[in-house]
């Protein structure tokens, strides 16, 4: 397998976590907590750190990358079946992110173009991406993440300086604790996508350092989302933010530099399409790679073309309208994350812990 450098691993992780969340999370947080949404973004750092430790533990106590790791710990039939379920999950996540993106462009830029054209064009680019192999994807992710992060930073700064009213964040207290828990949870579920480190961690220069990279990626995510939420709230206030379909995007429409650079939403979409490309290509790659391991195939690259039709059709049929899609995004997908990326890893962790104890107790006996 191609080796990837630590910075590439970092970019892959950030690229997987951030772009989608960037669009959907601020609105969700504002909906749940109104002007206090940003607090939840930052609070997520604490349980997020727990997740990092969890994944790191599993990573350090395994000998093989992810789908094989299941077989390693759970044994042949169970591991393989679970692995296959993960393949489906990753395919579903790919379709979901594609669909969310196309719905977004349909809503905001090109309302007349049929959704199938968007999805078709994107899938073409994605298949080419997977055919290029993971080493090249890692390099692409570096470019994407660097461009994206710079752009987001500049954007947030401009919005805060131009439109930000710090008073809109008041009052800071008076939180609804139930909603705070839900909001933090939502963030945590996004962070749980760090799960893919169980595959990528093995290919990076030094497995031991994967933990640090994960931590950095997690903190980057929290900062980006926290800052974005802050700036959206400062620009629109809680009420408006919570009724907007894509608040981050609407925030971009406010940017106006010297009365000349205005309405730059399309540039935002341009940069953001890179991010979506990153997410979709990584999840799809995970699906293909897992399938390769599960079915003992020769090369994951050929699976891409085969699953393309599946991904395309799923993403078209996934929901009939955007409200349904948003419910899917805000309720169903987090549950999936929670189950597959948090609960199963915890079980795995317990299993490894148990095994380790047993073997150590065995050793001590001997």
């Amino acid at each position: 397998m191609t080796r990837i450098s630590n910075s590439q691993l970092y970019c892959i992780l950030v690229g997987l976590l951030t772009p989608m969340a960037f669009l959907q999370i601020p609105g969700l947080l504002a909906h749940l907590l109104s002007q206090n949404g940003w607090i939840a973004a930052f609070i997520a750092i604490v349980p997020g750190y727990g997740l990092v430790l969890l994944f790191n533990y599993i990573l350090q106590h395994s000998q093989h990358p992810f789908p094989y790791l299941l077989i390693e710990h759970l044994g042949q039939p169970l591991g393989r079946i679970l692995g296959f379920i993960y393949v489906l999950l990753f395919l579903f996540l790919t379709s979901h992110s594609l669909r969310l993106f196309t719905d977004f462009t349909e809503t905001n830029v090109l309302p007349g173009t049929p959704i199938s054209i968007h999805i078709g064009v994107l899938i073409l680019a994605l298949v080419l991406g997977i055919r290029a192999g993971i080493g090249n994807l890692a390099r692409l992710m570096e470019i994407i993440v660097i461009c994206g992060l710079t752009f987001v930073l500049v954007l947030v700064l401009i919005v805060i300086l131009q439109q930000g009213e710090i008073e809109r964040l008041l009052p800071v207290g008076s939180l609804n604790y139930n909603n705070l828990a839900v909001a933090t949870g939502t963030n945590l579920f996004i962070i749980s996508k760090l799960f893919i480190v169980l595959s990528f961690g093995f290919w990076c220069g030094n497995k031991d350092e994967a933990g640090i990279v994960m931590k950095k990626a997690m903190i980057t995510y929290v900062l980006v989302i926290g800052m974005t939420t802050l700036s959206v709230l400062m620009a629109f206030g809680g009420t408006i933010t919570s009724v907007l379909t894509f608040p981050t995007f609407s925030m971009v429409t406010l940017v106006n530099i010297g009365n000349f650079i205005q309405n730059i939403d399309i540039i935002f979409i341009g940069v953001w399409i890179l991010g979506i490309y990153g997410i979709a290509v990584l999840t799809w790659f995970m699906a293909c790679y897992s399938l390769q391991i599960i079915l003992n195939l020769h090369d994951y690259r050929f699976v891409a073309a085969g699953t393309a039709l599946l991904v395309g059709i799923t993403s078209i049929l996934i929901s009939s309208n955007i409200l349904e899609l948003l419910v899917l995004t805000q309720v169903f997908v987090p549950v999936l994350y929670c189950f597959f990326f948090i609960i199963i890893p915890i079980l795995l962790f317990l299993l490894i812990l148990l095994k380790a104890n047993r073997s150590s107790s065995l050793e001590s006996k001997i």
Binding site: D103, P111, G112, T245, N321, I322, L323
Partner: protein, 382 residues
């Protein structure tokens, strides 16, 4: 010089001398942008909108960029050629992309012009046909449209934009029009234009659809029926806005933008009775609402969809009712019966005119809402 080369030279010279007689230099001709035909005192009045050639930058300022000339003749060809009596340049009719038919002519007999139009090679068959309603074609051509130099190019564009935005009328080309006129089992329609007073003076407005029965005009469809006609035409269409009452009690209304839709029309033969089965599948976006009602919720979507479907269905029914009242098969159902059930058509064909008003329909409409634009909920005013 050899004999061959001398002969060749002579041949070329002869070609030059005799070959030029059919050429028309552009600067000796007038470009006709639009053509209007009406019946006046038993004679055909032909009006032409001539574009005034202008270089870019030499904007003509206040004077319009066209000139309308008209002449009368007993036949269309005569009328067309009589233009030369009062206009020094040779009119290039092939450039005309609009044909305005006067109401008078339409109500009398289209046969007066149909043959001539079909036969004349210089009349473009992809020109757009409209009927001038309650005004003369000459006035329509003489009216300036805001921001446009020529009304003849503005009207087709108006039809096109209006279809994507409002979704009421459909553009009808001359070829389509003549085709429907000639074929049994289908009657032609054409959108109608009229003149209104606007803030900028006189303006052309699309107003209804003219319905023909055979070679005569039978009446008009109003805008709702025209919308129904557009939904009823088989095939895919894009765009349109429909307005429905809010799903619950209250004064509010909801605007739904139709993104694209598809209509299938089938003729079913049950016990010798023809039933037209119309299936409409459409999708749209939530465009606006008025009032404070909390309409946009996931659980309300099916309700909204069914109201839209009802609305579309009732538009269709209104159109069918009017068409059947006018006894004009503008939907081409006769044609559909002919192509799907040739045997039945052989039997019914001759009496189709009597049968059509009684044809039953089964309309099935499926409508789905897709997106909601910038906000995903109804606003709560506090």
């Amino acid at each position: 010089m050899s004999k061959e080369s001398i002969i060749l030279l002579l041949f070329i010279m002869v070609l030059f001398i005799i070959g030029g007689c059919q050429t028309q230099e552009l600067n000796e001709s007038g470009v006709v942008a639009g053509l209007g035909i009406d019946l006046e005192e038993e004679e055909l009045q032909v009006s032409m909108q001539m574009a005034r050639p202008a270089l870019p930058g030499q904007s003509s300022g206040s004077e319009p960029a066209f000139e309308v000339v008209s002449a009368k003749g007993r036949s269309l060809s005569e009328g067309l050629r009589k233009i030369t009596l009062l206009f020094p340049r040779n009119p290039l009719v092939a450039q005309a992309n609009l044909l305005v038919i006067g109401e008078e002519l339409a109500k009398t007999d289209l046969a007066l012009i149909a043959d001539s139009i079909l036969r004349n090679p210089s009349i473009r068959k992809n020109a757009v046909v409209v009927v001038a309603r309650e005004v003369s074609p000459k006035d329509v051509l003489n009216t300036q449209v805001a921001m446009e130099s020529l009304s003849a190019t503005a009207i087709p564009r108006m039809l096109r934009n209006q279809e994507r935005q409002m979704g009421i009328y459909q553009e009808v080309s001359l070829e389509e029009f003549l085709n429907k006129l000639a074929r049994p089992g289908v009657d032609p329609t054409a959108p109608a234009v009229t003149l209104i007073d606007s803030i900028n003076g006189k303006a052309i407005r699309l107003e209804g659809t003219a319905v023909f029965k055979g070679r005569e005009m039978a009446g008009y469809l109003d805008s709702r029926e025209s919308r129904g006609l557009r939904f009823l035409n088989p095939g895919r269409i894009q765009g349109g806005l429909i307005n429905i009452p809010a799903p619950f009690e209250g004064p509010g209304r909801v605007g739904i933008e139709i993104i694209r839709s598809q209509t299938k029309v089938e003729a079913a033969n049950t016990d010798g009775q023809i039933v037209m089965r119309i299936t409409y599948i459409g999708e749209g976006n939530y465009y606006e609402q008025t009032g404070e009602a909390d309409i946009l919720r996931l659980e309300n979507i099916p309700v909204l969809e069914s109201i839209c479907a009802e609305q579309i269905k009732s538009d269709m029914q209104a159109c069918i009712k009017q068409a059947q009242k006018l006894k004009s098969d503008i939907f081409g159902w006769g044609n559909i019966v002919y192509s799907q059930h040739p045997a039945v058509w052989a039997e019914l064909g001759p009496d189709w005119e009597e049968i059509f008003p009684g044809v039953k329909t089964e309309i099935k409409v499926e409508f789905e809402l897709r997106r909601t634009y910038v906000t995903d909920q109804s606003l709560h005013y506090q």
